[in-house]
C-alpha cells in the first residue's frame, strides 16, 4: 500500500453540525462502494470547506467561492470521477453566488453540499447571506437557497437536510451520489449545520424543521407544487427539509455526458503526437 496524505483531525468545535456531514459523506460513499481514489472532494473556504482534510480522498482546497467552477472542471476533464463540492453558506451564497446559479444551469453531474449555519463561523460570527434579520445587526432578509434552486428550470436533484437528523442525511446524500454517478446531472444538498459557537440553532431548528414529504401534495417531480410547498412552509415559520426536486426525466443529462459522450474525456484521451499526427496534418493542411 502506497502511503498518501493521511486524514488530519477536524478543526471543528465539538458539536459542530459539520461532523454530521463528514460522517454522512463517508457512509454514503461506502454504501455506494466508491473507490477512494476515484472520489474527489473540492472544499471551499471556511470551517466546512476543510472537510476534505479529514478523509482519505483526493481533495482540492479551492479558492473562496470558486469550488463549483473547479469541481465542474474536474468532472468535465474526467467524467469517470465522482466529484463532491462542499462548503459553507458564505462561500456558496455570497462570494460564490454567480457560480452557484450557473451550476444548476450547467448541470454537470457533481454533488454540491452547502453546510448552512447562517453565519461566517471561521471569521468569528458575522452575518452571512442566510442570517436572519437582527443577527449581528443584519438588516437584509435571508437568502433562500431552495426556492432559488427550484426557480432554475434544469433537471437537477435538490434537497435539504439537517445535521440533527443523520439518518435522513445519509439516505439523501446516497441518492444524490447515485444521481451523479448515473450521469443525470447536478445534485444540490443544503445541510442545516448549526455553528455551536456563533449561532447555536440546534434547538430552534429541531423545533422548526418540517419534512416536506409528510405534507399533502408532496411531489418532488412537480417543480411548481414544490415551490409552493416550500414557500408556504417558510412563510408559516417552519423550515422545509427533504427531497425538493427529483427530475421526472431519467436520462443521462449531465453536462459531461453532453460534452464527452461515451468518449474517454480530456484526461484519458491520448495526447501523444504519433497517434494524432495524421489528424493534425489534416487540420493544418486546411490552412491557406
Amino acid at each position: 500500500m502506497v502511503q498518501s496524505a493521511k486524514p488530519v483531525p477536524p478543526i471543528w468545535c465539538p458539536g459542530c453540525g459539520d461532523f454530521g456531514v463528514l460522517a454522512a459523506v463517508k457512509k454514503a460513499a461506502a454504501e455506494l462502494r466508491i473507490p477512494t481514489h476515484e472520489l474527489v472532494l473540492v472544499g471551499g473556504i471556511g470551517c466546512s470547506g476543510s472537510i476534505h482534510n479529514f478523509l482519505e480522498i483526493n481533495g482540492i482546497h479551492a479558492l473562496h467561492g470558486r469550488l463549483l467552477a473547479q469541481a465542474v472542471g474536474v468532472k468535465l476533464a474526467n467524467p469517470s470521477l465522482t466529484v463532491v463540492a462542499a462548503g459553507g453558506d458564505g462561500d456558496g451564497y455570497a462570494i460564490g453566488m454567480g457560480h452557484f446559479m450557473h451550476a444548476f444551469k450547467k448541470n454537470a453531474s457533481i454533488l454540491y453540499i452547502v453546510m448552512n449555519n447562517e453565519t461566517y463561523g471561521l471569521t468569528k460570527g458575522q452575518a452571512s447571506p442566510t442570517s436572519q434579520i437582527g443577527f449581528e445587526g443584519n438588516v437584509e432578509p435571508p437568502f433562500h437557497s431552495i426556492l432559488t434552486a427550484l426557480s432554475i428550470p434544469a433537471p437537477n436533484f435538490i434537497a435539504r437536510t439537517f445535521s440533527g437528523d443523520p439518518k435522513t442525511m445519509i439516505a439523501i446524500l446516497s441518492e444524490a451520489l447515485r444521481f451523479n454517478r448515473e450521469g443525470r446531472g447536478f445534485a444540490f444538498v443544503e445541510d442545516l449545520s448549526p455553528c455551536v459557537t456563533y449561532n447555536d440553532t440546534y434547538k430552534l431548528w429541531r423545533e422548526k424543521v418540517l419534512d416536506v414529504s409528510t405534507l399533502e401534495g408532496y411531489d418532488p417531480t412537480d417543480r411548481k407544487a414544490m415551490f409552493r410547498l416550500c414557500l408556504e412552509t417558510t412563510e408559516s415559520g417552519r423550515i422545509p427539509i427533504g427531497v425538493m426536486h427529483r427530475p421526472k426525466v431519467s436520462g443521462r443529462n449531465g453536462l459531461e455526458v453532453k460534452l464527452v459522450g461515451e468518449g474517454p474525456g480530456p484526461v484519458r484521451t491520448d495526447i501523444e503526437l504519433a497517434p494524432n499526427l495524421p489528424a493534425y496534418q489534416k487540420l493544418l493542411s486546411g490552412l491557406a
Binding site: 476533464a77 470521477l81 446559479m101 501523444e272 490552412l287
Partner: protein
Amino acid sequence: MSPAAAQITPLPEQSGPGAPRPPLELSDVSVMIGGQGGDGTLTVSDLLGRYFRKKGLYVYTSRNVLSRIRGGHADASVRASRDPLAAVKSHVDVLVAFDNEAVEMGKTELAPHGFILYDSTTFHIAEPHSAGFPFATLVGGPLGQPIFKNTAAYGALSVLFGFDPALTRAVIEERFKRRGGEALEKNLKALEIGRKVALSAPGVENRFSLTSGDAHDMILTTGNQAVALGFVVGGGRFFAGYPITPATEVMEYLQQYLPAFGGVVRQAEDELAAINMVIGASYAGARVMTSTSGPGLSLMTEGIGHASTAEIPVVIADCQRVGPSTGQPTRHEQSDLSHLANLGHGEYPRFILAPADPVDCFDLTVEALNLAERWRLPVILLLDQALCQNTTTSARFDLSKVRIDRGKRLSPEVTAKLAHYKVYEHSSDGRSAYAPPGTPGVWSEVTGNEHDEWGHVSVNPANRIKMMTKRMEKMVHARSELPSCRLFGPPDAKVGIIGFGSTSGPILEAQGLLQHRGVPTRYLQARTVYPVPVHEIDPFLNSVDVVYVVEHNYTGQLARLLRETMPWHHAKLRSVVKYDGFTFRAPEIVSAMKEGA
C-alpha cells in the same frame, strides 16, 4: 494620427484622377478601406489580400473597428510586399472610401502619389488624384441591393492596379463559392459593374502596377488562430474562457477544432469561473488553457496565484488591449507586462512567454503547455491585439518540432511501486511528481493554503521557508529551458533595440531603414520576458552602447523591468513608447530613436 502626415507634400489644386500617366510600380503597397461598420470594408480587404497572395506577395492586414456590432467608422488595411513584413506601412497608397468620414480620416495618411477611390452615391469630394463612382447606385439597380458596392469597389481597384481579370474573378469565386449560387452570381456581376465603370473613367486604369513575389505555400493567419492550433497539437484538451475582445477567437477556433480530438471547450459565466474550471481540469490531469484580455486578466489574477501555490499547471493567453479598466477593447497595447510580472498578492513563480508572430505563437503555445506541466505552475502567453487579430503571411506550422513533455507525471504502474506519494515532495529543482485522481492506491490533496509535502495546511515557519524556496526557485532552475531570445542585425552593431510581441514587425522594418541610413542596429526579440533572461540580455546590453526598448505602453514597462533586474545598465536604456491604440510604423521608431540619441 500618424506622423507620416507631415511627410505629405502639398497637393495640386485640381480634382479628379487627372490625365492618364504611366503606371507607378510598387513592390510594397498599402490600401486602406474605410466606411461605416457594415459597409463591407473587411470584405474588400479580404478580397485584395487573396489576390495579392495569389501573386506570391506577403500580406499583412489590420483593422480599425469600434466596439459595436454595426455603424461607426471602421476601416481595414491591406499591405502587400515582395519582402516578408508584419507591420502597417507608414503611408497609404490607395484609399477606398464609402463615406466622407473615411476620406477625412484616411487622407492624412495618404502618400504624395496616393489615390482616393470613393463611392460617390451620397457625397462628392474635391480632392486631386481621386475618382468617385456611385457604386451603391450602380449595383442597387441591377442587383436589387446596394450591399454589393464593396465588391464593385474591388472591381474598380482591380482596374486601378491593372490586376489580371481572370485572377480577379477567381478570387470572387473562391470567396463566395461556399455561400452558394446567388451570392456568387451577384458578386461576380458587381465585380463587372465596378470594373466597367472604372475602365470608362480617364486616368484610373493601370495607375499602379504591382510586382509579383515568391511567397508561395505560405498561410495567412492570426496569432489567435496559431495559439488555438498550438494548443490542440500540444495536447491541450480542456479550455474554458469568457468572451472578450481581442481574445475571443481563441475560444471560437477551439470550439471548432477540439471536440474532434476528445477535448472539451466551455464558455464560463465569467473569468473567475474560466480560470477555476481550467484549474479543476488540470488537477484532474488534462492539459488546459484559458485566454483573456486585461479586464478578464484582472479577475483571473486570483486563480493564477492559487494555481501557482497549489502547483497546478495552467496556461493563460493574455491578448493585451488598451487598458486600464475597459480601456479600448479593439485597440492595441502592451501594458499588462508589469501587472503580469508582479501578478497577484503574495509572491509566486510564473513564466511569461512573448511570441512575436504566428509561427512563434504556435511553437510557444506548445512550449507553454510543456513548461506548465514540467514545473507545475502558471505559464502566461503574452500576446497583443495586433498579433492576435491582424493577419500575416506566415510559414506553415511545423509539426516535426512538436514534443509532448508531461514532466514528472506518475503512471499507475510506477505509482504502485512507491513507498509513499507526496504531492508536494521536495526535490533538488522544486519539481514534484504528480498522480492525477483516479490513480489506484493514492490520492492528491492540493491547497492554496501554505502546506507541507502531503498537502496538509501548515503554519510551521521552517516548512513555510522550505515551501516558498521550493516554489520560487523554479524560476532559477527552469532558466535554461525557457524560450531563448532572437537576435537580428550585425553582431558588432553598437545601437541595440529590444522589443517583444508584434512590435517585432515594425522594429525589423525600422532596422532596414536605419541600415539604409548607415546605422547598423542589433535587435533582441525577448521571447521569455519573465523571469527576465538576464543570462541573455546582460551580454547583449554589454555588446552595445545604447539600447532602445520599443513597446506599446506609457511607462516603458519592459524597460523598467530590465532596469529593475539589471540596474548596472540603467544609463544605456532608452524607452520608445506608443500608447495611442495603434501599432508602431517603422519610420516612427526611427524618428523616436533619432530624438532619443
